[in-house]
């Protein structure tokens, strides 16, 4: 082949390659999840949800844009999350960041992303401070502490006729905010909080706490804000101390959306009578929920029931895809489109962001009570 022809072919090939590269339009999504450490089950479930959504929603370009995800381990820790977000901003240059799950870590990354003008889409933290601190680039689809605790207080006082409560919560921003979110309205309605008992995440044996509660006299409700593992042990200790219904006592343990599906089976009989609000209910009849459950089972196994963590993570991709569909092409337009998200149907209900970036639509949040056979009974309370 003549050198001139060879050069021409090479130049042509290079031009095609360059043009393909230039035309490949990508929305980069940084995902900060706890992949190591005690909170890593959040990361595992979150990743399952995101990967399923990427397979389904993002398999074809949306508006000519392909979604690309990069995971970083933020370990549920403010320090590691800070390092991870700086790394992802520097190296991956995301248009949006999804995460973190833990409130303390989310609070650490929010100001960094706000300063970098990269939207943060949160699907697992409850602390009020996240959307109450004036950040312009923070959005949250997960109900905040007040949105979760206020209905609990209302139902405790008005429906269950509870007049005394002992609030149990982990010693974190999330736990404290949820506890305050229950206490204020409950006391304002005329209820009395006999004790607010906090505990760190390394407490394993709850017998002493259950004994203390048993010594406090008549307790009507026990709102509990802790991770699943500790809540299971707490419920069992409360049953042994004959405080809660599951152990022959009278108090009703109450919980929030924190608790994944499956808690009741793990806690066993101790969970009988447990009342909680749920947002994602795998048995909900909505077509979107059932199609998600079906796809989840097909990918991860028929015996695996998706939790709210799977569902919320899945929904983050739906929310981003929707913003891209409505014209988001970079961080700024992403922020703009997200802020205008309205009545978007996802597996965990509907999304409408308020001026602070908080999802204000709680239409599917409902109460369930654990029955003797450990199944859920849907309640009509709101």
């Amino acid at each position: 082949m003549k050198p001139v022809l060879r050069t021409a072919i090479a130049a042509f090939a290079a031009a095609i390659a360059f043009s393909a590269f230039a035309q490949e339009r990508v929305i980069r999504i940084g995902v900060l999840m706890p992949i190591s450490g005690p909170g890593s089950y959040f990361g595992v479930m979150g990743k399952e949800g995101i990967e399923l959504a990427m397979e389904q929603v993002a398999k074809n370009p949306i508006n000519g844009y392909r979604l690309q995800v990069q995971y970083e381990d933020s370990a549920c820790s403010p320090l590691q999350a800070t390092n991870a977000v700086k790394r992802v901003l520097d190296q991956f240059k995301p248009h949006i960041v999804v995460g973190e799950e833990c409130s303390d870590a989310s609070l650490a990354i929010a100001p960094i992303l706000d300063q970098a003008k990269v939207p943060m889409l949160n699907a697992g933290s409850v602390t009020m401070k996240l959307t109450e601190s004036g950040y312009k680039y923070v959005f949250r689809i997960f109900p905040n502490a007040e949105q979760q605790s206020l209905p609990l207080a209302n139902v405790a006082y008005k429906t269950l006729k509870a007049r005394t409560a002992v609030i149990l919560h982990e010693k974190t921003n999330a736990g404290s905010d949820n506890a305050d979110g229950f206490e204020k309205p409950f006391v304002a309605m005329g209820g009395k909080v006999l004790a607010k008992i906090d505990f760190s995440r390394d407490v394993n044996d709850f017998t002493a706490i259950a004994t203390r509660i048993a010594s406090l006299g008549k307790v009507d409700v026990l709102p509990t804000f802790a991770l699943e593992g500790q809540t299971v042990r707490l419920s069992q200790a409360l049953a042994q101390a004959r405080v809660v219904k599951g152990g022959g006592g009278n108090a009703v343990q109450m919980g929030s959306i924190w608790l994944p599906y499956g808690y009741d089976q793990k806690a066993g009989q101790a969970s009988e009578g447990y009342v909680r609000i749920v947002q994602f209910d795998p048995s909900e009849k909505r077509a979107m929920v059932q199609s998600f459950v079906k796809a989840f089972n097909a990918k991860y196994g028929a015996d695996k029931v998706p939790t709210h963590i799977n569902a919320h993570a899945y929904d983050t991709i739906l929310v981003i895809a929707d913003a891209v569909r409505r014209g988001a092409t970079d961080s700024e337009s992403m922020r703009d489109r997200l802020s205008k998200t309205k009545d978007l149907e996802v597996t965990t209900g509907r999304i409408t962001f308020d001026a602070k970036g908080q999802n204000s639509d709680l239409s599917v949040v409902h109460f369930v009570e654990t029955q003797k056979d450990l199944s859920w009974k849907g309640m009509s309370w709101q």
Partner: protein, 304 residues
């Protein structure tokens, strides 16, 4: 019994139970320090390995393969965890600790951190991060005497702890190997000159300590939120107990463990559970200032 008396007795019972769990974890730590003058940062992970070994024995092998009833399966799992702990100790000593002991003292210490990270991540890969639900059949049985309640699991924990302590004490006091261990603890070189093989006895110490950690894991399994990081939730407290009791002092560790358990229970009752760590670590600082050798006055030759 008055309300106050019942409450005091109940919290004391809770505290002794918790203390026994701490003692089971702390014993191995103090044993290794007593003989090797070395802190084992991987001890928490040995506890976790024991907990997982017990979990899979009790819920899979013993019930599904051997067809044992739940109680028998759990008791078997204690023995399996003990054995798995011992084997792990033997393997880690042969592969990591023994070769590094020839250098300076810092290397084995750093190696224990390396082993800890390795074991934690290996378990994370093997078992995943989602908590396992490990319920002992004895936890479901609540015993009530008057107004006092405790589970059969608490009785088992106290009984196994007492038996382990007695066996360890008898081994140290009355057997040749135990006496040789004490000799190595006092003066490794002189013990070597007397015909004792220090390396063999060091290996034995690690095996015993690891076996105790494995057994502690099996007892703690139904209490812990069982994940590859489970042991880490008790190890800081165990270190505090070892320091309060006097590093390397077995009697001191036992006393400190029970004391910390009881103090924790009463802190929960009267000060609040959020202050547990504060109270325990203030106690630790007070001990370091007032009695740096630990609760029981240390006599070097009585260590281990």
């Amino acid at each position: 019994m008055s309300d106050l008396a019942a409450l005091v007795v109940q919290q004391s019972v809770n505290g002794v139970y918790l203390g026994c769990l701490y003692v089971m974890v702390a014993l191995g730590l103090t044993l290794i320090y007593g003989v090797l003058n070395q802190i084992n940062f991987a001890h928490a992970d040995f506890v976790t390995v024991g907990a997982f070994a017990a979990f899979f024995t009790a819920t899979r092998f013993a019930t599904r393969v051997l067809g044992l009833p739940d109680a028998g399966a759990y008791l078997l799992s204690l023995i399996v965890a003990l054995g798995v702990g011992a084997l792990l100790g033997l393997a880690v000593n042969a592969a990591v600790f023994a070769p590094l002991r020839r250098g300076d003292e810092l290397r084995p210490l750093i190696a224990t951190i390396g082993v800890s990270v390795l074991l934690e991540n290996f378990q994370l890969w093997l078992f995943g991060p989602i908590p396992y639900q490990f319920d002992s059949p004895f936890s479901r049985e609540t015993i009530r005497i008057g107004r006092i309640f405790f589970t059969a699991q608490s009785v088992l924990v106290v009984a196994v702890s007492a038996a382990s302590i007695a066996a360890l004490y008898a081994f140290m006091r009355f057997t040749f190997l135990g006496k040789a261990l004490r000799a190595v603890a006092q003066d490794r070189e002189t013990a070597g000159l007397m015909g004792i093989n220090p390396n063999l006895l060091i290996a034995l110490t690690i095996v015993i300590a690891s076996a105790l950690a494995g057994m502690a894991g099996a007892l703690l399994g139904p209490v812990l939120v069982l994940t590859p990081f489970a042991g880490a939730t008790v190890i800081v407290k165990a270190f505090a107990i070892v320091i309060i009791g006097g590093f390397g002092n077995m009697q001191g560790t036992i006393l400190a463990g029970i004391l910390v358990g009881i103090i924790e229970a009463f802190t929960v009752q009267y000060l609040g559970s959020g202050l547990i760590d504060l109270v325990v670590f203030v106690l630790l600082l007070v001990m370091l200032v007032l009695r740096p050798t630990g609760l029981i006055a240390e006599r070097k030759e009585e260590n281990v």
